[in-house]
């Protein structure tokens, strides 16, 4: 009765293994060997041939496509941000000890203080709110947690752990000051000494 189930076992893969003489009396081992050899032969068929496999493949492809599409969103075709370099005027237009708030929309304060001009980022170093310049108190004061910064941008009250960051500032070809927001200078890293972080007048 084991004879009819044997033919599948005579595939090249099966014959490569040494034949077991003791097998015929037991019906079970050939029965086990049979599905194994069909799986080997038809592994591609099993992967791509059944409806079940097609469904899984389709779902994997769809989910993968969605993930790729989502990742694609991280790289927009057009960036509607203002350019990171912009002109803010001639150096002699700035008054010592005054904070220019005209460029707050571009995340920048221009300050002339103690003979140098620098461009401060308007992002609070505590949790990223936008502080306000309080002329009467001569400080930048954050409305979220009360961090305070002096006109130099140095933190002195509240929880802000470090000074405001400076943007890159230089004098352009036409003599106007140019803010470069692609460069930032952090005081606590000793970067405010860099000549790119301020303009001497």
């Amino acid at each position: 009765m084991s004879e009819p189930t044997n033919p599948p076992a005579e595939t090249p893969a099966a014959t490569a293994t040494p034949p077991k003489p003791a097998a015929p009396p037991k019906p079970a081992p050939p029965a086990k060997a049979a599905p194994k050899s069909t799986a080997r032969r038809g592994v591609l068929l099993a992967l791509f041939g059944s409806w079940f496999a097609v469904a899984w493949l389709a779902m994997t492809a769809a989910v993968g496509g969605m993930v790729l599409g989502t990742v694609r969103f991280l790289f927009p075709n057009v960036l509607s941000e203002p350019p990171s370099k912009f002109k803010v005027g001639l150096p002699d237009q700035f008054e010592d000890g005054k904070v220019v708030e005209r460029f707050k929309d571009q995340n920048t304060w221009i300050v002339k203080y103690n003979g140098i001009i620098y461009a401060l980022s308007t992002t609070c170093t505590h949790l990223g709110c936008t502080p306000n310049w309080l002329e009467s108190a001569q400080k930048f004061k954050c409305p979220c947690h009360g961090s305070g910064f002096k006109i130099t941008g140095v933190n002195f009250e509240g929880p802000a752990p470090r000074p405001l960051e400076r943007w890159g500032l230089s004098v352009g070809e036409d003599g106007q000051l140019v803010v470069d927001k692609s460069k930032k200078f952090q005081k606590e890293l000793g970067q405010w000494d860099s000549s790119e972080s301020y303009v001497k007048v």
């Binding site: 936008t130 108190a137 009250e157 000074p163």
Partner: protein, 452 residues
């Protein structure tokens, strides 16, 4: 400029804040007719409440003395109601308002809430007696009625998104009273050798219909109230958001104001990530730490002293009172304002917060560190303190004060509990250090954005 540009240590030579008298809003206190009518109706409701309470004592408890007391109280409120309904225009005297504003500050507010909490726990028996608790409720309602005649107070308390906080004050007060009252009654019973009240009512009710019907009715009432609320008090809309202009003050949703207050004292990494995680982990860990079998299924204080005091300290003192502080007392620039103070965006509070490393190296040793160099040596004093606090304190406590706990709880449970409590205590400790020593950070390593 000194180390890390902290500037001079000491008060800034700024101009003093505007005297209160200069503020036009403060001077022109007046109550318009509709507000007076509203306050009058408010008092009338309190009159009815007290008459009901008196009737309860008279008819149910046959206590004429109590009934008389509450009728007299109702009369006091009736006089108030009449005065406002006939538009007498009484306003809380300015000297009281000024005295309250002068007295209250972050320190006094926190200390006051802490002292009240301790008093409540200590005198829980007296405080939760129904006439005493009712008296406290009456006093708070009378104080609210007086306070609301001040236009600065009124403008903040009646802001649409602040209304839930007013409800919160009274509902937290009510439920704290309710739980504590039941616990006190049971403790007295158990001291006499009687079983707690809950053990007597072993009459069981069915889920269907008893529970499900109750839930249905609650659902209908809650939906009704929310719909009315949504129609009457409209959600405030502000100007379109831009990164260039933050609203001043910028406030988190009310349930996060405790977190926002925490952020005033800690680095965002600590207050925004570590401490909230520890709160959640601590709440999850409660069943594993608290193996006290007593107090299961009935109210009791004496059998669960540590658990109740610890939880209520964290919830009431460190969470609810900070929400109230953040809602009503934090104004423009996140400055502290008294309840009757005008929210002046130009109020100047001279503050100068200094790091521990500056205090130690500059103040004591006279040494200045170059920026971005030698941070480890610079912050060593703070690091040692933090390591001592986190690593050395728990074994010390296990050996000394908390030895009985350590013996009963075992190594792992005890250290998890102590660590969680240390994280909880870290907030008031830092607050007190900020207020008393103007301390900014104990460990300050901006090079790696790590500050404690």
């Amino acid at each position: 400029m000194l180390l890390f540009g902290q500037g001079q240590i000491g008060p800034e030579p700024f101009a003093r804040p505007n005297e209160i008298g200069e503020d036009p809003v403060f001077h022109h206190q007046h109550l318009d007719a509709s507000t007076q009518t509203g306050v009058g109706v408010f008092y009338l409701l309190i009159v009815l409440m007290n008459l009901g309470f008196a009737a309860y004592w008279f008819y149910n408890r046959r206590d004429r003395k109590q009934a008389n007391i509450w009728i007299v109280v109702a009369l006091v409120f009736l006089i108030h109601a009449a005065a406002y309904l006939f538009h007498a225009g009484w306003i809380l005297p300015a000297f009281i308002r000024n005295a309250v504003d002068d007295f209250i500050g972050p320190v006094t507010y926190f200390m006051l809430s802490l002292v009240l909490f301790i008093l409540f726990i200590y005198y829980r028996k007296g405080c939760t007696e129904p006439p005493v608790a009712w008296g406290i409720l009456n006093i708070s309602l009378l104080a609210s009625g007086w306070a609301i005649t001040d236009s600065n107070f009124r403008s903040i308390i009646t802001k649409e998104d602040n209304v839930p906080i007013v409800l919160l004050i009274f509902s937290v007060g009510f439920f704290t009273w309710l739980g504590m009252r039941k616990a006190v009654v049971n403790d007295e019973r158990m001291a006499r050798g009687e079983p707690p009240l809950e053990k007597l009512e072993d009459e069981k009710v069915l889920v269907w219909p008893d529970l499900v019907y109750t839930e249905l009715i609650c659902m209908v009432i809650a939906t009704f109230i929310l719909v009315i609320w949504g129609v009457v008090l409209k959600a405030p809309l502000e100007q379109p958001a831009t990164s260039a202009k933050a609203p001043n003050p910028s406030k988190a949703p009310w349930y996060f104001l405790g977190l926002q207050e925490m952020l005033v004292y800690y680095d965002p990494w600590m207050a925004g990530v570590v401490l909230p995680t520890m709160i959640l982990v601590g709440l999850i860990a409660i069943p594993y730490i608290d193996f006290n079998q007593k107090g299961n299924g009935y109210y009791s204080f004496n059998e669960r002293k540590v658990a109740i005091v610890t939880f209520n300290f964290g919830f009431i003192v460190l969470w609810v009172t900070l929400i109230v502080l953040g809602t009503f007392l934090r104004g423009p620039n996140w400055n502290f304002f008294g309840p009757f103070e005008y929210w002046d965006p130009h109020k100047v509070l001279p503050l100068n917060n200094v790091n521990l490393s500056d205090m130690f190296w500059l103040g004591l040793m006279g040494r200045v560190f170059e920026e971005g160099k030698d941070w480890f040596l610079r912050e060593l004093p703070g690091i040692i303190l933090v390591v001592l606090y986190m690593a050395a304190l728990p074994p010390l406590l296990a050996k000394t004060v908390l030895k009985p706990f350590y013996v009963r709880m075992g190594f792992v449970r005890f250290f998890v509990l102590v660590t969680l409590i240390q994280f909880m205590a870290a907030l008031p400790i830092k607050m007190v250090l900020r207020w008393t020593m103007n301390l900014k950070y104990i460990v300050y390593i901006p090079e790696y954005f790590f500050n404690i």
